[in-house]
Amino acid sequence: METISIQQTGSTPQVLFDPLTSTLCLLGESYPENSFDFYTPVVSWLKSALQELSVLTLDITITYMNSSSTKCILDLLDIMEEAYSRGVATSIIWRYDRENPRSYVLAEEFLEEVTFPFEIEVLTK
């Protein structure tokens, strides 16, 4: 299976898959010039990865995302939800900064959209 690795920039998060823990990490801020262009390879990778994997955790630490990124993140969640319904053990860990309560509210909104395990944790610095 191919892995995925995209370096963090000022306006795009790091995207990195760790095959040892079967975890896809998103880390940083997300307000790309074109969110759909940025997330298209991530969406494609996730789709094909979930055909092969039996477990996948999405570990998200995004301190700020613009509105078009939220739509792209929901696309990722939908793909995970579909895999979960086929028996793939998908789950999310959403890490938020206590100083940034909106990230917690956003996590709660995403949580309402899915049925697979979704943990919201305080970011430890």
């Binding site: 000022g10 306006s11 307000y31 010039e33 074109n34 969110s35 759909f36 301190t63 700020y64 613009n66 509105s67 078009s68 939220t70 739509k71 929901l74 900064d97 100083e99 940034n100 309560p101 909106r102 909104e109």
Partner: protein
């Protein structure tokens, strides 16, 4: 060029930072960073800094996406403008750009719709738009004004000024 006079105008309006010119992603990003650093130094809460920054990003990206989608060339668009000003105990963030005459009206009516929604209605509308299939060619999800309203302390303001038979100039202001 009387920059002294221009600077006085900025000061009178409480403008802390302003960019006027063609928007590029790197300009949006760099101006945003500078603004954030400036706000952090003002000793306001981290979440307030992020609210101002988020509203700035939505407004600036809206302008850029709009001009791109409508294929308005830089020479037609001339300069677009974004400014952050002190307003009472908070901040006002404004964007101004050229729009097609018909779009100016449509954008203002969308702003008024969002302004008149309760937080519950906004949340429902946000969810509907999130779930709607992406519009082909669109660069955003149409969520920008809802995102701005979520982070704002008052209603958004919108004004449109005619420029010529084709274009108008739209100004949008949000308050934090």
């Amino acid at each position: 060029m009387d920059l002294f006079e221009l600077r006085n105008e900025f000061d009178k309006s409480g403008i802390m930072m302003c960019f006027n010119g063609p928007f590029s992603h790197s300009i949006i990003e760099e101006t945003g960073k500078a603004m954030r650093n400036h706000l952090v130094a003002e000793n306001i809460s981290q979440s307030a800094v992020l609210d101002v920054f988020a509203v700035y990003i939505e407004l600036a990206q809206n302008v850029r996406n709009y001009l791109t989608v409508r294929e308005i060339t830089p020479s037609e668009a001339m300069s677009s403008i974004i400014a952050i000003a002190r307003k009472g105990a908070g901040y006002a963030i404004s964007s101004g750009n050229i729009v097609l005459n018909a779009d100016g009206e449509a954008l203002c009516s969308r702003v008024h719709d969002v302004n008149s929604m309760t937080p519950e209605e906004r949340k429902r509308n946000y969810r509907e738009l999130l779930r709607r299939d992406a519009v082909p060619g669109a660069l955003g999800a149409g969520l920008g004004f809802l995102e701005i309203a979520k982070r704002s302390s008052g209603k958004m303001e919108c004004s449109v000024r005619p420029v010529d038979d084709t274009y108008a100039f739209i100004t949008l202001t949000a308050f934090i």
